[in-house]
Symmetry: C2
Subunit: 393 residues, 2 copies
């Protein structure tokens, strides 16, 4: 009835595949590897309860009043300080804007940079929320293949040459959906290719803090070497996602435009949540808390990889993540993952078929598995079920 | 340096004038009638503190986890029930989507309905946040004059005939910026004009609950007579704005599209805040709380109107609001309100010049005054200062 009123942009925006799947997986008998939920054990509930009562005492009405678009100064300061400490970045709070989760960061970037038809480079496969978000701004996606060590440099060169993208969106650490991480060498090569191009680079990093296997943090692509980088971060995976708090770090001129976009989008992010998270961060040891999450996710990831090694046929490939929340499974060439999905649901195990992670999903034989929201025994049972389903396609 | 990367949409979006003014008014010596802040006395702080501890006990990790895009069911149910009760609307929670404040409702509506160049009808003057928000989607604004009793019907007829707008955006109760309310008769006439047109009507109603003068609530335009209405509401002015919780009530088909737009915008609104406000609403008497706010605002509005009557020259006109947060002042034809603004700042009183409320601000001789965020004595002092400034232009 309302079809004629809807905008072209929204008609071309995919509704979230995952959220459709979640409806199928409401059945509590189903073991779901479909979502991307942090393990609730990782939320510092007791500490947050202390903080919420403290901010109510300390700040009174301020935690309920309208506030500034850029976000709470103390929270922006914490973020600036942390990035200065870890990455030696030369930034102040003027380089930081708080967003309503990382998803809003993507929306604001779309608002600020994308004209209809602008070329935007993404990994193949890429984060479905980004594809959805930039669809709204009618971006033209161009892709670069993702290998085990990062971007395929040959493919990157071709993409840059052929399409001259205005923006690139990359997730260099424990990528969603593949779980892959760009090596230091790959990052250097990528930067060599892009540094003289007329292009801004967005590095989305919700999982970077969650490295549970040996090895150090690897610096961002072009870190401290260019003003054309935007860095996205989030408290969703290390404190709580329900508060919807993420941020963008960028050149001040860009932050100013993002501020205008955010005024138009939601005026400002929930200020209670900003006071709460800020109070939590200044009164607790975030790194110690993250260690607990990492230990948990390490055991869950190991449980999943071991079970796949034990039960999956050898022609099924999968990534072995060193951090983050996902592993990416590739079936034999020619297999239809939707067929597997139907069989899997019959056997009461769910996952996300690869489709929503591609700009043009055709002949999809890949799928994403999440391991953070089930215990190790459940993971083993679920993978066994999936292995049975694999025999039926 | 980044100019070439910015989108056309954002280059044409005005940054918020008010937020610029707020920087001028940081000086505590300045009496500010510029903002649109609820009086902090109106926040039910003690009750919210009880609620936050209760939800932490009752729901545990759920108040921190990812949640659904449409919003918390209990909160949507409360809204549906309230509108059913007050307006006899035939709706369920499927007709309700929670938004990150009413400002996000505007952004989502822009995403879902506006193609570049689509005609959107707004009041003259209109809410600056709407103008900003729809600018991002490159709407073409057309205006209809606002009179003391509502829309100018002759002008409405012309606008509809000449421009055939796809959307109309109206604030029928205690309008921002004018404080005016459409009479019942005017609403009926407006509906007669629009009902057969190919147009959706958005009625934004953040202030409707705040009627502090005699009289009953006046039904929405076309209430229960059309599926082409979208109703916007908010908890910002009756509970707390800092939580950023608003909502849209509409046909289910429209809600479904808004859901896709919201997935792309921020996945979902802060879930802690939704549990908190929901718990507050179910465990307290909202209407009783609203009575307190209304008594407060009534005395503040009266203080402002009385002071204007006493001190302003007779060629300065102003509205006498029966509710809401604002009054609208019109200077003599030909006077420049920016000149008054400069003089007023020198005398340490601030307001919002009319400019940002117009689509094409030229020869602006109007200004908005807010009375909710200062006590009656301060209001009187501020109006006296403004009267002095008026003598100097």
């Amino acid at each position: 009835m309302f079809e004629k009123y809807f905008s072209e942009r929204i008609k071309n925006t995919p509704s979230s595949f995952i959220r459709e799947i979640l409806k199928v997986t409401q059945n509590p008998e189903i073991i779901s590897f479909a979502g991307g939920l942090p393990n609730p054990i990782s939320f510092p509930q007791e500490e947050l309860k202390v903080s919420m009562n403290r901010i109510a005492e300390m700040y009174g009405a301020k935690i309920y009043q309208y506030s500034t678009t850029l976000g709470l100064d103390s929270l922006r300061q914490y973020i600036a300080d942390r990035y200065k400490k870890i990455w030696n970045m030369n930034i102040t709070i003027d380089n930081v804007i708080i967003t309503t989760g990382s998803q809003q960061a993507l929306d604001l970037i779309g608002k600020v940079f994308i004209n209809k038809g602008d070329n935007v480079m993404v990994e193949k496969p890429s984060y479905l929320g980004l594809i959805q978000s930039f669809c709204v701004y009618e971006a033209n996606f161009v892709t670069t293949k993702l290998n085990d060590d990062g971007l395929d440099i040959e493919d990157l060169r071709n993409t840059l040459k052929t399409h001259n993208p205005k923006l690139a969106y990359l997730i260099p650490n424990f990528q969603n959906p593949t779980g892959l991480t760009y090596t230091q060498e790959n990052r250097k090569k990528v930067f060599e290719e892009i540094k003289d191009k007329d292009m801004l680079l967005i590095q989305d990093d919700p999982y970077g803090e969650l490295r549970f296997e040996e090895g150090e943090r690897i610096p961002y692509i072009g870190l401290n070497q260019t003003e054309k980088n935007l860095y996205l971060g989030s408290f969703s995976k290390i404190v709580t996602p329900g508060m919807r708090l993420g941020y963008i770090i960028a050149n001040k001129e860009i932050i100013k435009m993002l501020e205008t976009a955010k005024q138009a989008a939601d005026l400002h992010s929930n200020i209670f949540g900003q006071y709460l998270i800020s109070d939590y961060l200044y009164n607790n040891d975030l790194d110690k808390h993250i260690e607990k999450i990492k230990a948990l996710y390490k055991s869950q990831a190991n449980a999943m990889v071991s079970a796949m090694e034990e039960f999956f046929p050898s022609n099924v490939k999968f990534t072995r993540p060193k951090g983050g929340m996902f592993t990416w499974v590739t079936l034999e060439e020619g297999k239809d993952v939707m067929k597997l999905f139907d069989k899997a649901i019959q056997r009461q195990v769910a996952f996300v078929p690869g489709h929503p992670f591609y700009v043009n999903p055709i002949n999809v034989n890949t799928l994403r598995l999440n391991y953070t929201n089930a215990d190790s025994d459940t993971i083993k049972t679920g993978i066994k079920r999936l292995a049975e389903a694999l025999k039926e396609i």
